[in-house]
């Protein structure tokens, strides 16, 4: 891999989420919390709508980086804070946008920061990936 520069964008993508995406993630992960597929339950517990699983957002965010990395085994650490929910409208769905930017470069490792937004809202905080160079 050529030398990385701090501030360089190494990967970026937009992912469209629908209610089907949430049901698919529920099945694949085993997380069947109904706030991720039932409007009535989401409303009853005071949410602004049906929400994407935080772990779905976390999962799709880091996978943005994998084609660029080549080998996902180069990822040493990955962490996020779940700061704001992604509301997935029944008809419109939601779009999650991911930008991966070089934050720190060391001799044999680097930190890539992910900016993850839905509309104008940043939905993950401190989304940081430590990679082996």
């Amino acid at each position: 891999m050529s030398a990385l520069e701090v501030g360089e964008v190494v990967a970026e993508r937009s992912v469209s989420l629908t209610r089907e995406s949430l049901v698919r993630y529920a099945g694949a992960s085993g997380d069947f919390n109904p706030i991720h597929y039932r409007d009535d339950v989401a409303a009853r517990v005071g949410l602004p709508g049906v929400l994407a699983h935080g772990m779905l957002t976390m999962g799709l965010a880091v996978e943005t980086l994998v084609p660029w990395l080549g080998d996902s085994g180069r990822i040493l650490e990955y962490g996020v804070r779940f700061t704001r929910p992604v509301v997935v409208d029944a008809e419109e769905g939601a779009t999650v946008h991911v930008v991966a930017k070089v934050a720190v470069v060391e001799e044999d490792a680097a930190r890539i920061d992910l900016t993850v937004t839905s509309g104008e809202t940043t939905v993950l905080g401190k989304a940081q990936v430590r990679i082996r160079l």
Partner: protein, 146 residues
């Protein structure tokens, strides 16, 4: 919320056998479209014996440990009052189809927050040989009794 949970170590979970089709299903669900997650030949070209699980697949194994925590009679944790605040993974290597994984949960921190608490748990996931694969750390915000 029971502050005496700190330092508690749970028994290892029953071995979980990672299946190739499960990895493919999970990859599709998290939009992991790189072929190493779905095509055995692409994974083998990178030196892995079979398809490589997406980075957050460890959550499926970690979830078995969180079920142990919720089932603990004295934990004081109710799922409907719990918010997942933070998640971290520290990897020794990726999870690959064919792995037989065991997770062991320990509670590393409980900090009082209002009537509730912030609980940090660590699940150490190891393979059939006992080698470390990944440590999954969760921070849960647990609401107090109403």
């Amino acid at each position: 919320m029971n502050p005496e949970l700190v330092g508690r170590v749970f028994p290892p979970t029953a071995p979980y056998l990672v299946g190739r089709e499960k990895v493919r299903e999970f990859a599709r669900a998290v939009f992991a479209d790189d072929p190493q997650h779905t095509d055995p030949a692409a994974a083998q070209a990178l030196g892995y014996p079979d398809v490589v699980a997406p980075l957050t697949f460890a959550m499926v194994i970690q979830d078995l440990t969180l079920q142990q925590l919720l089932a603990e009679p004295d934990s004081g944790i109710a799922l409907e009052r719990t918010i997942h605040a933070e998640q971290r993974f520290r990897y020794s290597r990726p999870i690959v189809a064919g792995d037989e994984l065991t997770a062991q949960l320990s509670i590393s921190g409980v900090r009082a927050m209002g009537t509730g608490a912030m609980v940090t748990s660590e699940a150490e996931i190891t393979d059939a040989a006992g080698a470390h694969v990944v440590t999954a750390t969760s921070v849960l915000l647990v609401g107090g009794d109403e």
